[in-house]
Symmetry: C2
Subunit: 369 residues, 2 copies
DNA sequence: CCGTTCGAAGTAAGCGCTTACCCGAGGTGG
DNA sequence: CCACCTCGGGTAAGCGCTTACTTCGAACGG
């Protein structure tokens, strides 16, 4: 309590502690890191001095010396803004990555790690260099959503452990994603067999997204084998965003296209836009057109009608990504490099697909899932 | 491209660059930091070597030497979980802090800073020490939502710059918050004078929250001067959470309490719970009871009925907090310490208060706000 | 009783940068 | 023509830790 008297104080260093305890800085370090076995009284004196001074080791010095920063960098892709639309204020687009980050953070804490979060515009010219710069502040990197081309990814992975989310694994990186295939097949079978819909459409996410591609492919496959019609392609691009979903529907209606019986959206966000556009035109959901999402974001159950979606345990996605990265940082991680880790998904039936929630499992059981 | 041949390479150091360029490490450092005026050819050689090797300086070494980590720590309060409720999966509670963080991050980027994010349970015994530990990895700290008691806050602020969000300023810290007072007064006047409601209730946020207290006080003041009844107190605690809002309404209905004409919620999140509970009991909103929120989260406009709320520019809150902290870190910051910075708020009228959106300003203008 | 061993604690060498300081070459004025 | 100044660039001293290596004292056996 003594030398913190005046404001603007520098925090105490290990030297201050050593002096106060009457030992060398090496002893202080040993006590703090449980190395060697100090005599009981030495230990006591050090601990007392630490408590007295409120000493906490400086992160940078520790990192430099121990070659471990206890920080992992996270790169989030900032959505490009679609101007002039109803959904200009698309902050909510980031809810999905934010929830994933939350999952990482909770697990990271258990290992004494923190997350250094940086977002990048994809069209940003130097996105790559900003990612490499973050790398030098971290022990490992988690990349959301395909932010680096394969060459650069490879170069990055050579320097430090890298895990991707919803990307593609490489020889040196691991990838974590929801089980898109079985999730989407469950949606498709439900719409086709349980509801008997014969015309479907797939509103895709952004181009090149492995998630979107896999989901689309699974849906197409199920549609084909059931012999039902599937619309997809250029007219059906939602870009994972509400504005994109709404715009797609507007264009289709303006073009006089006959809408399919059910619209399967690549994620919940774009489904929100679809629901909104349909409502604007007085088209009833699910009466005229059924709509489904993917992700089961918390907002899905607050929509009218409540949105049928595919639940991924979003926090698990983050937690798994972190654990995988951690094993590469601290263990040898040889077992995980190159792996593609799929987490289970589960169809959540609500009103928007045509189901009557009253007839389903009791609400609490369903919601608690 | 030469020494990155094999996997698992260490990134190049400043020594590698110096050797490649045939200069000393000091020259490399000078070129990279624009110190002194190196001869043109020296500069060229260094830059070429940097590009060739893909050199990026190590963050820890730079931080240790320059006494600047270019990192600010952010402490978010993790919500305590309310078990067994419909809203168990309250991930969305973190949407508000996440959006604030987004605002910080965007501004931080412009200054080359990154955010180190850590969440704490309030009931966690060592929340304080975890915050102090984060401090040693950062150049400054931003505290969301009252996570530290005044004594510890003061001790922390002695060691490094601190800005609080929705807290209270101290002699050495600055605080940033939305203008709760005028926002809430706008809600109150609208409900009382425009709609003529004569019985109101205030569903409070969590205890001790300065935001909640200020909002409640403003509402009470307006109610008093208009001579209308205001219910508040123990029965009207929502804890800022949907589950809390729903539970409060359930308890009131179970107790046979007659509901007021309008329920003013401390935030949008708890309003969601209120809307839900009212719907469960077949109570019409806004026909029987009007409901308002606060914050104008993106989800507010997707609710049925759309939620009347008070818009705060959430990202501005974060951006302002960062800029304030930055001026304390890099400038002298003497001007901002002790300040309480209020950002403007704006009433957004939607359906849930009884307004007919069709009669209001055109949708796009309103939504784009 | 002395040589040996063992273990606790001190000494010092980095970790990869920034920067104060110094040196030497070139240009100026007396 | 020499003393002096300028300025680009090298040398080296840290920044605050961790840890390999060393030292020293106590305990032990022969």
């Amino acid at each position: 309590m003594s030398q913190e008297a005046s404001a603007g104080n520098q925090p105490p260093t290990i030297y201050d502690v050593a002096r106060a305890a009457g030992v060398s800085i090496a002893s202080v370090s040993r006590v703090l890191n449980d190395q060697g076995n100090p005599r009981a009284d030495t230990r006591q004196r050090v601990l007392a001095a630490v408590a007295e001074l409120g000493f906490v080791p400086d992160g940078a010095a520790r990192a430099l010396s121990a070659r471990l920063k206890e920080v992992v960098g996270v790169i989030v892709r900032r959505p490009q803004w679609l101007d002039g639309s109803l959904f200009t204020d698309e902050d909510e687009n980031l809810q999905f990555p934010d929830m994933i980050n939350r999952g990482m953070e909770i697990v990271a804490q258990r290992h004494g790690f923190d997350l250094l979060i940086r977002s990048v515009d994809l069209d940003e010219a130097n996105a790559g260099s900003r990612i490499f710069a973050l790398a030098r502040k971290s022990d490992g990197i988690i990349l959301h959503d395909r932010v680096l081309d394969p060459d650069q990814l490879d170069r990055l992975a050579r320097q430090l452990p890298v895990v991707t989310l919803a990307g593609l694994p490489t020889a040196t990186t691991a990838n974590v994603h929801g089980d898109n295939d079985s999730g989407m097949r469950a949606v498709a079978r439900h719409l086709i067999h349980d509801h008997g819909y014969r015309t479907l459409a797939y509103l895709a996410g952004h181009e090149g997204s492995p998630d979107s591609i896999t989901r689309g492919r699974a849906l197409a496959d199920e549609a084909r084998s059931a012999g039902v019609t599937l619309q997809a392609g250029d007219a059906w691009q939602g870009g994972y965003q509400a504005a994109g979903g709404a715009a797609a529907i507007e264009r289709l209606i303006a073009a006089g296209t006959r809408l399919p019986r059910a619209i399967v959206c690549a994620n919940d966000q774009s489904a929100i836009g679809v629901l909104h556009a349909l409502a604007q035109h007085g088209i009833s959901v699910p009466g005229d057109v059924a709509v489904t999402g993917f992700d089961d974001m918390p907002v899905a159950r607050h929509l009218r009608p409540q949105l049928t979606s595919v639940r991924q345990s979003i926090q698990d996605l983050g937690a798994t990504a972190f654990e995988t990265l951690y094993s590469m940082i601290c263990g040898d991680g040889s077992g995980v490099r190159g792996q593609d880790i799929a987490l289970p998904t589960q169809l959540v039936r609500r009103r928007s697909c045509g189901c009557d929630p009253q007839l389903l499992v009791p609400r609490n059981a369903q919601e608690a899932g």
